[in-house]
């Protein structure tokens, strides 16, 4: 049976080589090229493919690690965003508190300033009133003195003209009586 197969195969091959030859294909050249291809394939797989595979693998690793890092960064960013949001919320709350405190402080300061202003104004009014009182007293004194001076001068003039002998006698009499008393 094996002999039959070989026979038919060789017959087949003979038929085929004839077929390839009719197509312009050199079988030997083809075989040589196949061998050269195999040798090249072997050499490439022996020396070049491992290097390339390693490079690709490294690159893949790098890409994977980058993706991982990007994922982590994204996660971190999300976490950070959450933190930032909470921090912003906290900061807003603190800012609100600060604003409220500042408003309270400001109102207190304004209140104190108002109080001080009122006190100062009252003090100034008191001083002014005291000054006015002093001025009035001084003016009264000055008026009194001036009046006395005027009265004395006027009396001197009038008395100098009006005191005659008889009036002077009466004055002297009363003066003597005054001394006696």
């Amino acid at each position: 049976m094996l002999k039959n197969v070989m026979y038919f195969a060789s017959a087949e091959a003979g038929e085929k080589s004839d077929l390839l030859g009719s197509l312009g294909i050199d079988v030997r050249l083809l075989i040589f090229q196949c061998i050269a291809f195999l040798v090249l394939l072997f050499l490439l797989s022996k020396y070049a493919f491992p290097v390339l595979a390693k490079m690709i693998e490294d690159r893949e690793k790098t890409i994977n690690s980058s993706i991982k890092a990007a994922h982590e960064a994204e996660k971190n960013a999300e976490k950070t965003q959450g933190k930032v949001a909470s921090l912003l919320k906290e900061a807003r709350k603190q800012a609100d508190d600060i604003i409220v405190n500042a408003k309270v402080e400001a109102s207190k300061i304004v209140e104190n300033a108002d109080k001080k202003s009122i006190e100062r104004a009252e003090r100034m009014i008191g001083d002014a009133e005291a000054q006015i009182t002093r001025n009035v007293a001084d003016a009264k004194k000055a008026l009194r003195n001036e009046t006395i001076e005027l009265v004395a001068s006027a009396t001197e003039i009038v008395v100098g003209k009006t005191v005659n002998d008889s009036l002077d006698k009466r004055i002297i009499k009363s003066a003597v009586e005054e001394v006696e008393a």
Partner: protein, 128 residues
């Protein structure tokens, strides 16, 4: 010439005046002139008045604007006698128009100024 103190001179003059020796006045004047003490004349007169007052004779200088009539003089004399408890009062009258009115009586130890001038001065001292 001996140099006597003013008090000694006043005591001497008092004694002489009480003995009615009026010559003592020119004597004293010439003494003051001789001893170049004429500036003390006013003070000597005061001292003599004090000395006379201590011996019971009051010398009063009575100043007024107008001449005093006798009744007023009598009243002043009576008042001074009563006041100084003495019987001998000598009134030395002088006219001073500046007094304006009233009377000013000066003795060796006291002064009663009841002139209108003094009253006006008192009024002026009421100034504050």
């Amino acid at each position: 010439m001996a140099n006597f103190s003013r008090r000694q001179l006043a005591r001497y003059a008092c004694k002489q005046l009480l003995a009615e020796n009026k010559q003592v006045i020119p004597e004293l004047a010439s003494y003051l002139h001789e001893t170049k003490r004429t500036k003390e004349a006013e003070l000597l007169i005061k001292d003599i008045q004090v000395a006379l007052e201590s011996k019971g004779t009051v010398v009063a200088e009575v100043s007024s604007k107008h001449k005093l009539d006798d009744s007023i003089k009598k009243e002043i004399e009576t008042m001074l006698k009563k006041h100084h408890d003495t019987s001998n009062v000598i009134i030395d009258e002088c006219i001073d128009p500046d007094l304006l009115g009233g009377v000013k009586i000066c003795t060796a130890s006291e002064e009663f100024d009841n002139s209108l001038r003094k009253k006006l001065e008192r009024l002026k001292t009421m100034k504050v």
